[in-house]
Amino acid sequence: MSEPDGINIADEVVRLISVADRQLRTTYSRLTPWQKTQVARHPDRPKAKDYIEKLITDFTPLAGDRAFADDAAVLGGMGRFRGRPVMVLGTEKGTDTESRVKHNFGMARPEGYRKARRLIELAGRFKLPILTFIDTAGAFPGIEAEARGQAEAIARSIEACLEAPVPVIATIIGEGGSGGAIALAAGDIVLMLEHAVYSVISPEGCASILWRDATQASVAAEALRLTAEDLLRLKLIDQIVPEPLGGAQRDKTATLYAVGLAIQEALSNLNGTDAATLRQRRREKFLAMGRETIG
C-alpha cells in the first residue's frame, strides 16, 4: 500500500479517522444552544416510532379520541417493556415526505391530546406504567384545532398525566415544543436526551416576538436556556441520557439502548410506590418549579 512518495495510505486513513473523531468530539462537546436545536431537529434522529419498535414488544396500537378522529401525530398503544405491560404515547414527526404529512410533522390536534388522555386513564385503571416519547415543534396551530378546543385538550392531557395513579416516565427525545410537549411530559421522571431541546417557544418564534427579527433565533436559543444541561440545572428535568458521539442520528442502536436503560432504571425506582404517594410526589415536584428551585 506504500506509495512511491512514502505515504502509507492505511496509516493515513487511520490517522484521519482519529482526527475526524477528535473534531467530532470537540464540536459536539461545545454545541451552542442553536446548534443543539438543529441536532434535535435532525431528520435522521430516532423518532418515537423507532423507540416503540425497538423497546416495546407486543405493541398494540390504540386509536382515536372516541369523539372526532384518530390523530396520527400522537402514537399510542399498549405493549411490553422488558416483559412488563405498559402504555406508550409518543409524538411522531415522520421520516419522509409521505409519513411527515401523515403525522402532521408531529404537531398534534385536539383529538391527539384527547386520545392521550383516554389512554392515560385506561392505563390507570389497569395499573400499566406510562411511557411517553416527546418530539414535537408544538401543538398544531390551525383553525379547526381552535374550533375543537386545542387549549382545553392540552390542559386535560397535562391534568391526566398529573393525576395518573401509575408511574409516568416521559422522555424528551428531540424537540420538546411548548404546550404540545408538556401535555405528555408532566411525569414522575422526565428524561431528556443530551442534544434534545425543551422550550416554552421555538427560538425562531421567540426571536420574531421579542427581537422582531426571526434571524435572531440563535441569540434567542441562547437566552431561552433550552438545553438538557440548562434544564437539569434548573431542576425542570430529572436526568440526561447521553447520546453517542456526534448525536443520536449517528448511532440509533446505541441511542435506543441508552434510553431503554434509563427508562428501566426509572421504572424500577418507582416500583411498588402506591398511587397516592406517586401522585403526591409528582405534585410536589411540579409545585416546586417556581421560586423554590430558582431562588
Binding site: A139, F140, P141, G142, I143, A145, E146, A147, R148, G149, Q150, A151, E152, I154, A155, R156, I158, E159, C161, L162, E163, S178, G179, A181, I182, A183, A186, Y198, S199, V200, I201, G205, C206, I209, L210, W211, R212, A220, A223, L224, R225, L226, D230, L231, L234, L236, R283, F286, L287, M289, G290, R291, I294, G295
Partner: protein, 288 residues
C-alpha cells in the same frame, strides 16, 4: 426648542387653560369610535353604552366590580424572583419587570384577594394584562397556587379572571412548568369539593388557556373576548387561509361548546353569586 414650542404653544395653552378641562373627561370607544363621558363609562363598568364593547380593565377595577360593596382583602403574595435566567432581548427582563411594576403598581401580572360575592365568601385572582402582557411566569404560578391554597383553607370557591398573552418567554422553560403547576392548583380546589370558576377576559391565549384557564368547573367569558391557544397571526401563517369572522371570540367558543356562557360585565357579579350559590348548596361542608 424652536419658535413653535417657545412661541406658539404657550398661546394655545392659555386658550385651553380658560376652560381648565382635564384631558381624560372623554374617552373614545375603540370599537365604535363614539366619544364616551368618563363618568358614564365608569358607571357602566367600562362598557360602551353605544355598542356594548367591553374595554379592558385593570385588576383593581375587576376586584371592585366583583366583590360586594367594593370591599375585599388583598393577600400578600410571595415576592417574585427577579430574573431567574438573566434574560435579555432588546431590553433586560429585569428592566421590563421594573417598568411593569411602575406602570401597574402590582408586583407581577396577578392579584389575589378574598371577600364576599352576594354574601358568599370567595377567593378571586385577577390577571393584569398591562403587566408584560399578563404573561405567566413563576410569580403568576406562585399566586395561583397561593390562591388555591387559600380557597381550600377558607373552604370557599376560587374564581380566576384571566387576561394573558400566554407563557412568559423571559423565564424560558420555567414559565412552561407553570402550566402543570397551575393545573395542580385547580386540582387542589376540586379535590376539596370546591368550585373553580374561570372568567375569560380579553385577551386570553397560549399557555394560560392551555392550562388552568380551560379547567374551570364553570367557564364564563366576557362578550367579544379573544380566547384561544395559538395566536391569530401564527394560525394564518400556518394554514394560509383567511380566518373566519369572529374567530376565537367568546361567542365563537360558546358556539363550539368550549365555554358555558358569555356574560356581560354588568351582570357578572350577579351571575357569579348565583353560580356559587348553586354549587356550594350541594356541598355539605358549605352548609355548616
Amino acid at each position: 426648542m424652536n419658535w413653535l414650542t417657545e412661541y406658539v404653544r404657550p398661546k394655545i395653552r392659555t386658550l385651553f387653560a380658560l376652560s381648565s378641562v382635564p384631558d381624560n373627561l372623554w374617552r373614545q370607544c375603540p370599537s365604535c369610535q363614539q366619544m364616551l363621558f368618563h363618568r358614564d363609562l365608569t358607571a357602566n363598568l367600562k362598557v360602551c353604552s353605544h355598542c356594548g364593547h367591553h374595554m379592558r380593565a385593570d385588576s383593581t377595577e375587576r376586584l371592585d366590580w366583583t366583590f360586594d360593596e367594593n370591599t375585599y382583602t388583598r393577600i400578600e403574595l410571595p415576592r417574585p424572583v427577579a430574573d431567574p435566567l438573566r434574560f435579555r432581548d432588546t431590553k433586560r427582563y429585569a428592566d421590563r419587570l421594573k417598568d411593569a411594576r411602575e406602570k401597574t403598581h402590582t408586583e407581577d401580572a396577578i392579584t389575589v384577594a378574598h371577600g364576599t360575592i352576594g354574601g358568599q365568601k370567595a377567593v378571586v385572582a385577577v390577571m393584569e394584562f398591562n403587566f408584560i402582557g399578563g404573561s405567566m411566569g413563576a410569580a403568576v404560578g406562585d399566586a395561583i397556587v397561593a390562591a388555591a391554597r387559600l380557597a381550600v383553607l377558607q373552604h370557599v370557591p376560587l374564581i380566576i379572571f384571566t387576561a394573558s398573552g400566554g407563557a412568559r418567554m423571559q423565564e424560558g422553560a420555567i414559565s412552561l412548568m407553570q402550566m402543570p403547576r397551575t393545573v395542580i392548583a385547580t386540582r387542589m380546589v376540586k379535590d376539596a369539593g370546591l368550585p373553580f370558576i374561570v372568567v375569560l377576559t380579553d385577551p386570553t391565549t397560549g399557555g394560560v388557556t392551555a392550562s388552568f384557564a380551560m379547567l374551570g368547573d364553570i367557564q364564563i367569558a366576557e362578550p367579544g373576548a379573544m380566547i384561544g391557544f395559538a395566536g391569530a397571526r401564527v394560525i394564518e401563517q400556518t394554514v394560509r387561509e383567511k380566518l373566519p369572522e369572529g374567530f376565537q371570540r367568546a361567542e365563537y367558543l360558546l358556539e363550539h361548546g368550549i365555554i358555558d356562557m358569555v356574560v356581560k360585565r354588568t351582570e357578572m357579579q350577579a351571575t357569579l353569586a348565583r353560580v356559587i350559590g348553586l354549587l356550594m348548596q350541594q356541598e355539605p361542608k358549605a352548609a355548616a
